[in-house]
């Protein structure tokens, strides 16, 4: 089967990258940054206590030993324990992940939908006002630091729309009697809208511009001219020949911009006090909770690698030119 080779190669690459990421993680946290224990903020820690902790965390062994231990633990899904709460890292990160994923998904959805629309219209009406507006607004939004945009949204938009700007749930919900699932759902959504919107705005720019560019390139292709020559209307040509080809790069684009999405969402969550993985990272940094930081970073990296793999395979499926 044609596919096997290619698919196999991509999966292998993904696995190797995962391995590189794990090693990088280890190197960053254990080797270069000095001893996690010595950074522990506890005034009453005696030397004996610190030594004991070291032994517990396996920090008294050689680096190589530690590395093997680390890999072993990971294989079992054990990412260590939070220094602050003593809970397993995987457990501590679970709730934040559950919060972040829908928010990021929603934001990305906004940006893809609006970005594609804007990009297509822009390319279609190249040189007109609609085109220039899309370009400039897209580029401008993309040049804005997401956290700043978040602050602007909070400052000017939130109150106008009557939407909450912090946290993920209304603390008063459920006090005067049980809240129904619907109420909880609405409440969650209301808290999710602004951060998602901010994320969506930042990304919309990128997607609109890329779609436009891809569309323009596609529209300049010979086969588009041929389609028109065959008698297809402008609209039919775009729909049947232009769109599919032009949108192919979107897939890779989303995967590639995942790094940025994640990064942006970290700061956005901070601004909106949205209890997702981004906020968890910020808090972990603040409290020097290295295992959490390490675990979160690893998880984020994994998801980006996974997304890239999915994008590769999707692209492969959709574009018959891609071969071994």
């Amino acid at each position: 089967m044609r596919g096997f080779d290619y698919v196999g190669k991509r999966i292998l690459f993904a696995l190797l990258t995962v391995f590189v990421a794990i090693t990088l993680n280890f190197v960053l946290f254990r080797t270069l940054s000095g001893d996690a224990v010595s950074a522990l903020r506890c005034r009453q820690c005696t030397q004996a206590f610190k030594d004991y902790q070291r032994e517990q965390l396996g920090l008294d062994k050689s680096k190589w030993e530690q590395y093997k231990l680390y890999l072993g633990d990971l294989a079992h899904g054990d990412m260590g324990k939070s220094l602050r709460s003593e809970g397993a890292v995987t457990h501590e990160l679970w709730a934040p992940i559950k919060n972040t994923v829908p928010m990021v998904a929603l934001g990305t959805l906004f940006s893809i939908v609006f970005g594609v629309l804007a990009g297509v219209v822009s390319a279609w009406r190249r040189g007109t006002w609609a085109d220039k507006t899309t370009l400039w607004t897209g580029l401008s939004f993309y040049s804005m630091p997401p956290q700043w945009l978040g602050l602007i949204v909070v400052l000017f938009v939130a109150s106008a729309l009557g939407l909450p700007t912090a946290g993920i749930k209304d603390p008063t919900l459920g006090i005067l009697g049980d809240a129904s699932t619907w109420d909880v759902f609405v409440d969650r959504m209301r808290h999710m809208v602004l951060p998602s919107l901010t994320l969506g705005l930042v990304l919309y720019g990128e997607y609109a511009i890329i779609v436009r560019s891809s569309m323009l390139e596609t529209l300049g292709e010979d086969y588009v001219l041929t389609a028109r020559a065959k008698g297809l209307s402008n609209w039919a040509t775009v729909w049947k020949h232009g769109l599919r080809n032009a949108l192919l790069p979107i897939i890779t684009l989303v995967a590639l911009s995942l790094g940025f999405i994640i990064g942006g969402s970290i700061t956005i969550e901070y601004v909106f006090s949205y209890p997702g993985i981004g906020l968890a990272i910020v808090e972990a940094i603040d409290q020097r909770d290295y295992p959490i930081l390490q675990g979160a970073f690893l998880l984020l990296t994994f998801s980006v690698i996974l997304a890239n793999l999915v994008a590769d395979l999707l692209y492969f499926k959709l574009d018959p030119r891609v071969s071994t």
């Binding site: 690459f13 190797l16 990258t17 590189v20 990421a21 990088l24 960053l28 946290f29 270069l32 940054s33 390319a123 279609w124 009406r125 190249r126 370009l135 897209g138 580029l139 401008s140 993309y142 040049s143 804005m144 630091p145 956290q147 700043w148 602050l151 602007i152 400052l155 720019g205 990128e206 511009i209 890329i210 436009r212 560019s213 323009l216 529209l219 300049g220 292709e221 588009v224 001219l225 028109r228 402008n234 775009v238 684009l253 590639l256 911009s257 790094g259 940025f260 990064g263 970290i266 700061t267 901070y270 990272i281 910020v282 940094i285 603040d286 930081l293 970073f297 984020l300 990296t301 980006v304």
Partner: protein, 318 residues
């Protein structure tokens, strides 16, 4: 932020293929409005940074009035959460942001340029190995890595510059590699080689000058990226606490609860500065890159159609 976006965005306006010669660059810069605007913006900021000592006779952080005072004639952008003059803070921030931007871009360009050069010139195993490494680095998400590295390695400006520089070299490497490969094929390089010129000589005298313009154009784009990246780091409190940067100003406004006080003048201006500078360098850098790496684009489709003109008798014999 991806350079692909920067590329696509400012590429508009370059309708006809232009050769990569210096004359054409001048034509692009002074011909295309957006390149000119971009250059003007960047130049304006650089000017402010250079002239900043004139404005900052005293430490910009000194308290000159009540906190969160509204903008007034004496303080056009009001005072921040510590009572310091916003205008002075912004000017001080210009210096730092530009410094970080250029320095980090330089580091990135250095690494990326070297990798691209080596990869494109030597080809073979070197190429494969370097490109593999690049592939891996690309997949690892940049901002989380940056944040983690900043959290771990501390707060000095130098470190921040290095961190940013080390993370963003990959697209430069690829770009330069492609360029070097095409330059390498050119006749005179082969001739020089036939005359016995060694690799070093070839690289520095023949290949590098051809590749330099593109590298510089790309570096301008990197500046935008670096400034953007710095705001991330500063916002999370990981920046150098002893310097004022725009990113830090945004962070300050957040931690000082500017929103509660409705003090938009502490929030809006620093972000506007970042946006403007990033926009400006993107516009300028991309126009430059397009002039050196032109692409011809003809649109076959548009809502508008070709026009019919009335035939005026026997058409005037030209």
């Amino acid at each position: 932020m991806s350079t692909a976006v920067q590329g696509a965005a400012a590429a508009e306006g370059v309708d006809v293929a232009k050769s990569g010669r210096p004359g054409s660059i001048r034509r692009v810069v002074f011909g295309e409005p957006q390149a000119l605007i971009g250059l003007a913006i960047v130049a304006a900021f650089i000017l402010v940074a250079l002239l900043s000592p004139l404005f900052l006779s005293q430490d910009p952080k000194t308290k000159v009035g009540p906190i969160f005072e509204h903008p007034s004639v004496s303080h056009p952008l009001g005072l921040d959460g510590g009572g310091a003059d916003m205008v002075r803070l912004l000017i001080a921030g210009t210096r730092v942001s530009l410094l970080v931007g250029f320095a980090a871009a330089f580091v990135s360009a250095l690494i990326g340029g070297t990798v691209g050069l080596a990869s494109g010139y030597f080809g073979g195993k070197t190429d494969i190995v370097l490109m593999r490494i690049t592939d891996y680095v690309i997949v690892i998400p940049d901002i989380p890595l940056m944040i983690v590295a900043a959290a771990l390695f501390g707060r000095s400006l130098t470190n921040i510059i290095l961190i940013i520089g080390v993370i963003y070299w990959t697209s430069t490497a690829r770009l330069i590699r492609a360029q070097v490969k095409s330059v390498r094929e050119r006749v005179y390089v082969k001739r020089a080689r036939a005359l016995g010129a060694g690799n070093t000589r070839l690289i520095f005298k023949h290949v590098l000058p051809q590749v330099m313009p593109l590298l510089i154009a790309n570096t301008v784009l990197l500046v935008a990226l670096a400034i953007f990246a710095e705001t991330f780091i500063s916002f999370l409190g990981l920046g150098d606490p002893s310097v004022i940067s725009w990113g830090r100003l945004i962070e300050n406004s957040f931690t000082d609860d500017a929103i509660l006080n409705n003090a938009w003048w502490t929030i809006v201006p620093p972000g506007v500065c970042v946006t403007l500078l990033v926009l400006g360098s993107t516009m300028f850098g991309q126009s430059l890159e397009d002039a050196l790496n032109p692409r011809l684009r003809v649109g076959h489709l548009s809502v508008r159609r070709f026009r019919m003109r009335p035939l005026k008798g026997k058409l005037e014999s030209e």
